[in-house]
């Protein structure tokens, strides 16, 4: 007997399946049950106005995600079975993957834990559930990445010690301090930083180049988890936009707070992505697009359009965005020059661009590259040819906010190095830019706590006072670091190539 019953539409059904479950507590005050969602000063007058960004019930989620996992793991298994690591473009490419495993997979983990806190912390049930879905998605991301990279670890260096260097290495403080900054803030700032600024505004600059780069360079494992994660990411982006609009609509007092966060997290995100831009420009043997071009498409067109949309809420463009745009011609070259000189203190290999790559860089970056950076690389190449591969003997001074070595130059003069100083409680703190200095000056109490690796090393807190001691403390061997040509990865790759040629 078929029944003729009333129908509930999706949104009604979803409403009953989530927010309908929630209630106002009376045996304990709501402020004690949700102790963390007021201290940042964000005023929410009506959580019921929250628009659920994706209406997923658990049954649909399990079904949909299981489908994706079955496919993904089938490919990961086949990568192992077929030794697909031999099909990549060149072993230099793997350094991009190493940066990812050392620096970005830990961010997936941090996102997993951070969204758990929001999944418990927000007073609004709809927002809570949305964050729970993101929490478990992010758990998925770190796990699938560890599983994918585990295979590369069997053959190549720089993966095996990732859990130790994640916390200890100076260059990995850049992503680590970024996410810890967000996680140690309150829930509204965290979600603005991560879901909006990072995932909504900047993610295309991170994800697209990395995943397309993997596809271009024959890395099946990365390509597959990357594309598989994309439908999760689009949910996360929707959540980012929803939360920011929600805060702005709830109370006018929220507007200046949100604006300050957007300023801060735009700049911090931009600085962090310089690392990814460098990977795109220098580490991919087969290029996808240059940082400059990606910046133009994803920020100057899409990002700016988004901020224009937000103007009706009283939001203006993030501070210092002009500087970021002005730097698009130089940031990755300054960054690569730095990593090149310091790669003996990393678990990465670096190298100088070959002729063809030099031409590509000239074409993408024009006069400035030709005038400033190409001669520098040529000089280093000469040193290299004389057997004097250039490495810095001392450690770099790093910015007290973004933790990037201070190699930056003045916005209007790419030849003059910048280093700005703020004094707080009698101590001087160095910053790489006006953007970072603003961030420091707004919350000096927070940033003066930062663990600045070079300072700690020189104080002997990292295994000793020399670079050698430091490297030992990181568990990085000589063979894991420095120049790519002649490295173990390089030799292995050459061996595989020779074997393939013989067949």
């Amino acid at each position: 007997m078929a029944k003729n019953q009333r129908r509930l539409n999706l949104s009604q059904k979803y409403q009953l399946m989530t927010r309908g479950l929630d209630w106002e507590t009376t045996y304990q005050p709501m402020d004690k049950v949700f102790p963390y969602d007021k201290y940042e000063g964000i005023k929410i007058t009506d959580w019921d106005k929250w628009q659920d960004p994706f209406r997923l019930t658990m049954d649909a989620y399990w079904k949909y995600q299981a489908e994706k996992e079955r496919k993904l793991y089938a490919i990961l298994d086949s990568v192992v079975q077929n030794n697909s690591q031999q099909n990549i473009s060149d072993a230099r490419y793997l350094n991009a993957v190493k940066i990812w495993m050392q620096g970005v997979t830990p961010l997936e983990y941090a996102a997993f834990r951070g969204f758990n806190m929001l999944g418990r912390g927000f007073r609004g049930a709809g927002a809570r559930v949305a964050c729970q879905f993101q929490a478990i998605d992010e758990m998925r991301h770190y796990q699938t990445q560890v599983h994918a990279f585990a295979h590369y670890n069997k053959f190549f260096n720089g993966f095996n010690q990732h859990a130790r260097i994640r916390d200890r290495a100076w260059y990995l403080s850049i992503p680590k301090s970024y996410f810890e900054d967000a996680m140690t803030a309150g829930p509204f700032e965290f979600i603005t930083a991560i879901s909006f600024s990072f995932e909504y505004v900047l993610t295309n600059l991170l994800f697209m180049p990395f995943v397309s780069g993997a596809a271009h360079n024959g890395d099946m494992a990365t390509t597959t988890f990357g594309f598989s994660a994309q439908s999760d990411e689009s949910r996360h982006m929707t959540l980012g936009l929803e939360i920011v609009k929600f805060m702005l609509e709830q109370h006018e007092d929220n507007v200046p707070i949100v604006q300050e966060w957007l300023d801060k997290w735009f700049w911090r995100g931009y600085r962090l992505l310089g690392l990814i831009g460098t990977m795109m420009d220098y580490m991919l043997p087969k290029k996808v697009m240059s940082w400059r071009q990606a910046w133009e498409i994803y920020w100057e067109e899409n990002g700016v359009a988004l901020f224009n949309d937000l103007a009706r809420y009283g939001i203006r463009m993030p501070k210092h965005h002009e500087t970021a745009t002005r730097e698009k011609y130089r940031i990755t070259h300054e960054f690569w020059s730095t990593i090149y000189q310091f790669s003996h203190a990393t678990a990465l290999y670096t190298w100088l661009p070959d002729e063809e790559e030099m031409d590509w860089l000239c074409a993408e970056y024009g006069e400035l590259f030709e005038k400033l950076y190409k001669p520098r690389y040529e000089y280093w190449r000469e040193l290299d040819a004389r057997g004097e591969r250039f490495f810095q003997k001392r450690l770099p001074v790093v910015c007290n906010v973004c933790q990037i070595p201070i190699f930056h130059t003045y916005p209007d003069d790419p030849c003059k190095n910048i280093c700005l100083v703020s004094e707080y409680k009698g101590t001087k703190h160095q910053m790489c830019s006006e953007g970072c200095k603003d961030i420091f000056d707004r919350e000096p109490e927070k940033y003066c706590q930062a663990y600045i690796p070079p300072q700690q090393i020189y104080q002997g807190n990292c295994g000793g006072a020399t670079l050698e001691d430091y490297r030992k403390w990181l568990h990085i061997r000589d063979e894991d670091a420095g120049e790519y040509y002649g490295s173990e990865d390089n030799q292995l790759w050459e061996k595989w190539q020779a074997e393939a040629a013989r067949v």
């Binding site: 201290y39 658990m58 997993f112 069997k154 680590k176 595989w496």
Partner: protein, 332 residues
């Protein structure tokens, strides 16, 4: 380019990551569960103190009074990581879905007696709020729990509880033929009916517990250990034996789910108790503190449903719980 090479064995430089080798011993190959639960939580060099808890670090061992040499010992015997978890749940969900649509399409709940319908309306449907509370509590554990084994398992447990609450919502809607009023009425009972106030009070009190292990014990061991058998064993049996066989088709998953999640709960509690006398005393004291309230809350519901058999039902639930507690070392 190299078909022959692909089929040939390629020499491996190392078996696994350093931190896994340290954990399992050299030469041991990890499985995929071990690969993702060990070594993932940051251990040192925390840059800033949390503004929401300035006395502690971002990841801080002091968020529970339980002490472990190594919190990564709190392993999940099911060895769930994301992929195996969602695949398992989607399988279960598929077969469950069939049950729901059969009951719904054939109207199998229509013909049960009014008395049984009242049981479902007044006991089963309001319980969705308790599952929602369990969702919140497990997200507290996953947020502040120390190390990845507990944090990841609690995340999945939290999602499971949202799923449970949603299945209970569906049962209500099947019974009411999609009239949401049934849910409003159940919520009224949850908020105001004396029968539910004991449970609602324990759950609201649990929302303000900071110690994540205490919360784990209260939510996943004590509350579940009493209420799941009460509703999905005894009440279910009560309904089925009175002509409501179709009801069992709707609650089958709760029985399977509880049997499975118990394995995780018991394993984590056992490991912590076996670690030290101090842990064991602490957990016993938590049990003594919360158990009477949990039992009293359940008693009210049992009295309302089982009338003169209520004593017997509660006795059987508590006997089983005590047996389990003795095995774990929670009870001497």
């Amino acid at each position: 380019m190299s078909i022959d090479i692909k089929t040939a064995a390629v020499e491996e430089k190392r078996i696994t990551f350093d931190h896994i080798a340290r954990k399992l011993g050299e030469g041991k190959k990890p499985n995929r569960y071990q690969e993702v639960v060990f070594g993932q939580q940051p251990e040192e060099v925390f840059h800033y103190r949390p503004t929401w808890d300035p006395e502690r670090e971002l990841y801080d061992v002091r968020r529970t009074a339980i002490q472990m040499q190594d919190f990564e010992d709190l392993l999940d015997p099911r060895q769930y990581y994301y992929a195996t978890y969602v695949i398992q749940r989607s399988r279960q969900q598929e077969s469950q879905e069939k049950n729901y649509s059969v009951v719904e399409k054939r109207g199998l709940l229509d013909n049960i007696s009014d008395e049984l319908k009242e049981n479902i309306k007044k006991v089963v449907v309001p319980f969705r709020h308790a599952e929602w509370g369990a969702n919140m509590n497990n997200f507290h554990i996953s947020s502040y729990g120390f190390q990845t084994p507990i944090a990841s398992a609690a995340t999945m447990q939290g999602m499971d509880r949202l799923g449970n609450a949603q299945y209970l919502t569906r049962i209500g809607l099947i019974l009411s033929e999609n009239d949401p009023a049934i849910l409003d009425e159940a919520k009224e009972l949850w908020l105001h009916d004396p029968m539910w106030q004991g449970l609602r009070k324990v759950i609201e009190d649990s929302f303000v517990i900071e110690d994540w292990f205490e919360l784990h014990l209260l939510q996943n061991y004590l509350l579940d250990g009493v209420f799941h058998p009460l509703l999905f064993q005894h009440l279910e049996n009560h309904i089925v034996t009175r002509g409501g066989a179709a009801f069992a088709m709707l609650t089958e998953l709760f029985i399977d789910w509880y049997a499975e999640s118990r394995r995780w709960t018991d394993a984590t509690i056992k490991v912590a108790i076996d670690e030290s006398d101090q842990n064991s005393k602490l957990m016993q004291s938590w049990t003594e503190k919360w158990k009477p309230e949990v039992v009293a809350a359940a008693q009210r519901i049992a009295d309302a449903v089982f009338a003169d058999q209520s004593e017997e039902v509660m006795r059987s639930i508590l006997d089983e719980l005590d047996d389990r507690s003795r095995k774990l070392g929670l009870l001497n």
